[in-house]
């Protein structure tokens, strides 16, 4: 065969000459797999010219657990449980993606109560995920305090989840045929209390970070990504929307109860870090709006329409569904051969595609810009490696 297969060693030991007229030497630095701002075990091999980043070579796989292979060895319900471990900050949306493809393929029924609960908890989790991102973003830029503010407010949502779902991170809640448990009797009251609380905290977020001159200086014009390049590089979610493309599956292919609620899709203009920051801040406000519209209108009904132990058989064929998680489009491709376990299941994860943009965004910037850009993508490494 004529196709040449390369190695990492060959990739980074190529010719390197500095572009500066001064006689400087370029060098490689391993950022990660243990590094404070790679959010886990991401490894970036950087080719640096002094402080300037010339090339970013992401090296993946440090937390590759073979979720797709494991999926072939279990049934559909078991796979729901596995996807919690991908993007653990939007576990509910992951559950929903699998649930959606199975329900669509096996033609399972749901009712409005189930859809309302799913929509509600997913939006709450979007807020929660963005809060964590906001805190970590501050920390990556060198400000510690936002981290604690973000986590403090996130805790309230986690408590709401804990009451209803029993878990705070890996939910395993949205199941084919319904949701695992009915909402806790306090759910509506707690969510309303949280909304009141959180709306009073949003100005605090702005005062601490958004209006800070250093934040603005650090973010504006950094890590630019044009709309065409963003689409070509497969970016989705806030990264794509910050580049000015209003692509949001909640609007373009509404699922759940998104077609019945009124919300806006915030878009940026230049696609720099600031736009990504702003888009996420705005998304939190929009999610609050969605939750406000739904919280008083949860219809009555059952919350699980099939027997939990029932075997789910999916007709043979290729099935695909996607949802909008806090980070972008999560698609589940299911190839079935008619049995009760998937023949092949593949997850199109948002972080995998969004991280691919880092090479384009960070090249030419400083190390500090790289950290800001990486953080503005809001990566969750287990979601990349699966």
């Amino acid at each position: 065969m004529s196709v040449h297969v390369s190695t990492l060693q060959a990739r980074i030991s190529g010719e390197s000459t500095a572009s500066s007229p001064l006689s400087t030497e370029e060098y490689f630095v391993n950022m990660g797999p243990q590094h404070p701002s790679t959010h886990g075990v991401l490894r970036l091999v950087l080719r640096l010219d002094g402080e300037t980043v010339r090339e970013v070579v992401p090296v993946l796989g440090y937390i590759h657990r073979g979720i797709e292979k494991m999926g072939e060895h279990g049934n559909y319900r078991q796979f729901v449980h596995l996807v919690d471990r991908m993007d653990y900050l939007s576990a509910l949306a992951n559950n929903w993606a699998v649930t959606m493809v199975v329900e669509k393929a096996a033609k399972m029924e749901t009712n409005d109560r189930i859809q309302a609960i799913r929509t509600l908890v997913c939006e709450l989790q979007r807020i929660q995920s963005h809060q964590l991102w906001w805190g970590v973003f501050g920390m990556d830029l060198g400000a510690f305090t936002p981290f604690f503010y973000g986590l403090r407010d996130r805790e309230q949502i986690c408590d709401i989840f804990e009451k209803t779902i029993g878990a705070r991170l890996t939910m395993n809640y949205i199941q084919p045929g319904g949701v695992m448990y009915d909402i806790h009797p306090d759910f509506v009251k707690d969510v309303k209390a949280f909304l009141t609380y959180f709306k009073s905290k949003m100005p605090e977020y702005d005062a601490l970070m958004t209006e800070n001159v250093i934040i603005q200086e650090r973010l504006r014009g950094i890590g630019k990504l044009s709309a065409e390049r963003a689409i070509a590089l497969g970016a989705t979610g806030p990264v794509l929307r910050a580049s000015g493309v209003a692509h949001d599956l909640r609007k373009s292919e509404p699922y759940g109860l998104y077609s019945q609620v009124d919300f806006d899709v915030p878009v940026g203009t230049t696609g720099d870090c600031w736009d990504r920051y702003w888009v996420r801040m705005e998304e939190m406000r929009q999610s609050v709006r969605i939750v406000e519209q739904l919280i008083d209108n949860i219809p009555e009904g059952k919350t699980f329409l099939v027997k939990p132990a029932a075997k789910i058989k999916v007709p043979a064929g290729v099935h695909y569904s996607h949802v909008e998680t806090a980070r972008g489009v999560l698609g589940v491709l299911l190839v079935s051969n008619g049995k009760d376990a998937p023949y092949r299941i593949h997850c199109r994860t948002p972080n995998f595609n969004n991280l691919w943009c880092i090479g384009e965004m960070a090249t030419g910037g400083r190390i500090g810009d790289l950290v800001a850009t990486l953080s503005s993508i809001d990566i969750v490494v287990p979601d990349i490696d699966r």
Partner: protein, 359 residues
Amino acid sequence: MSWPVKTIAERTGDLLPGSPWTASVYVLLTILAVTAFMTVTGLVLIYAERKIAAHFQCRLGPMRVGWHGVLQTIADALKLLLKEDIVPRDADALLHILAPVLSFAGMLLVMIALPMSPSLQVADMNIGVLYVTAVSGLGVLGILLGGWSSNNKWSLLGAMRAGAQIISYEVSATLALLVVVLFSGTLQLSGIVQSQEAGWWIWRAHGCGIVAFAIFLIAGTAEINRTPFDLAEGESELTAGFHTEYSGLRFSFFFLSEFLNMFVLAAMTSTLFLGGWMPLHIGHFAVFNGVMDIIPPGLWFTLKTTAMIFLIMWFRWTFPRLRVDQLMRLEWKILLPIGFVNLFVSAACVVTGCYFFAR
């Protein structure tokens, strides 16, 4: 009313003709006292920083060891002392060991010139300001050596950042300092304090003082590598910067000297701009001045320094970090021109005697 200044060095000199032995015991006790003072100050500052940070961040901070965690830093210091001291195999062992000592020594040497009260100052040089500027530059040597000798690219990057940053900001800090020297007409630190008897330089100098104060504070914060200028450590970028490869006792030297540098900066700021140990006086208002004199000078110094330390900590827990090129731009394109203009304006003020309570 003039304040009689008697330094420890002078007192030793008085003892010397009587018996050299008494004098040397006195010197020994002084060294012990200074060391103890520094250690205690360092521990208190670390505790204060943790508590203040915690309350900025809506949490409690250390609460378990002792009442409200007061013994936490002692426990941490013990832990650091007992930790394995690692010198990386490919590091330059001698320089790796020397670096934290140098960093600590630079800070220690500044300490002896600080006028804490009329009777509490180790040595009062007639070129005190010059001495402080020169000796505080030693600290950067420790950081540079530490980063270079670690043989780690992140450490080297941190050290290079620190080198560029500290040397640049020293220029602005010195320019701001010169303003006070111009107004007070002396380089002697106790003399500068005495010159503020009619009022602090921060408000007496028609705005020049405030500008110089701001520049000195910003440049000083940059010199001691604290947020928003903590690029040398920049833990989200360079893991831990120049002290990535340090552990145990040697790390604690860097750590302690960072905190004591903050004390030195706060003490220098209050000495130069806020009157040091001098009570708050307003010109010839005898009654007001009399009331202010009730508070002893040592307490005045402590209060002012504490306030400055709190301000610096407040910066740290509010601001994010600058980027390396923004840092350089801030110094060379903003602070330095303002500093120069301010210096010329102050010179004009001094020549024309156009400031409050001119002699």
